[in-house]
């Protein structure tokens, strides 16, 4: 598993208040109950702060999985 994934997994676990073991490289909002709409918004804010990036409304709606977030962070 890559370093970017480890970093992201740690952040997601902290925001969603779950263990890191519950988060896989393919995890998304649709297969993780704790990742509800409120948690998603909090995750987007945490991403902005952790990675010093700006997330627009289209990205908020689109970044609903670990692969999508990793791809976005890599491109930023």
């Amino acid at each position: 598993m890559s370093e970017p994934f480890h970093r992201l997994r740690s952040l997601i676990a902290e925001v969603l208040r779950i263990s890191e073991g519950e988060i896989q490289e393919s995890t998304g909002q649709e297969n993780l109950e704790a990742w509800d709409s409120v948690a998603h918004l909090n995750l987007m804010l945490a991403l902005e702060e952790e990675y010093a990036i700006r997330i627009g409304v289209e990205e908020i709606a689109r970044l609903t999985s670990v692969p999508a977030i990793l791809s976005h962070i890599g491109a930023s």
Partner: protein, 260 residues
Amino acid sequence: MLEKEWPPSGGRLRYAEVPWDTAAFGFPVYQLFVEASYPGFSDDLASLSAHLAPAHDGGALVFTKVPPTDIELLIALGKIGFYPVETQIEAHTSLADFTWERRFEGLQLRPATPVDVPALLSLARTAFRLDRYHLDPNVSDQQAGVRLEKWLAQGIERGDIVMVFEDRSSSKTIGFCLLQERSDRLVDFLLGAVETRLQGAGIGLVMYGECFLACRDSGFRNLVTRISLHNVDVLNVFAELGCRFRHPRLTVHRFIPDPS
């Protein structure tokens, strides 16, 4: 709405035609006002349904809102063909100490202007999926959408508070809030939604948080609204904003088909 008694002249049932729903659907819609069952309730209900049924082409829809714990009343309504469609719960909160800091730079809530109206009406027509008419198989999605569009249009016409939620990067309207001032610095949140494709991503939390803040800054001290229990995302959003919940009401419908 003009309430009538049934049976006429002293009956214990009260009902009224709901003109805005009738206008949206093209068939008459009536609301029954029932607080509790009583001896002869089922008979009154049956005779009222018969009275309403044959008078109109295209059928009619009758609904009532009852406490979900009044099982006796629900059984009586069920026996004559009423079916449950939605339980709403009242959410309320004090705005006095409300704070909101989860902001995104590109998202803005602002008062609506006449230029915004077409986009707002389009949103109202298309953004809802879980209200009682969208869930009722006897009402089409198109009819249910038109009803909400008309609801918003009426709010605009009578001068209710209308807020636009905008994505500033594209200047696109992505949500709206319709509110009405009540007495004693209470604001009633009547209707709100974000664009369908953006739902489930927490964007509503930002919009409602900004809206609560705007209400607080306008001098309102308390806010009340009603939320469908089907709409878990919105319930979670309002809980996150500090709301508490009370007064659940179950809405039951009865569709009376066209006798022809």
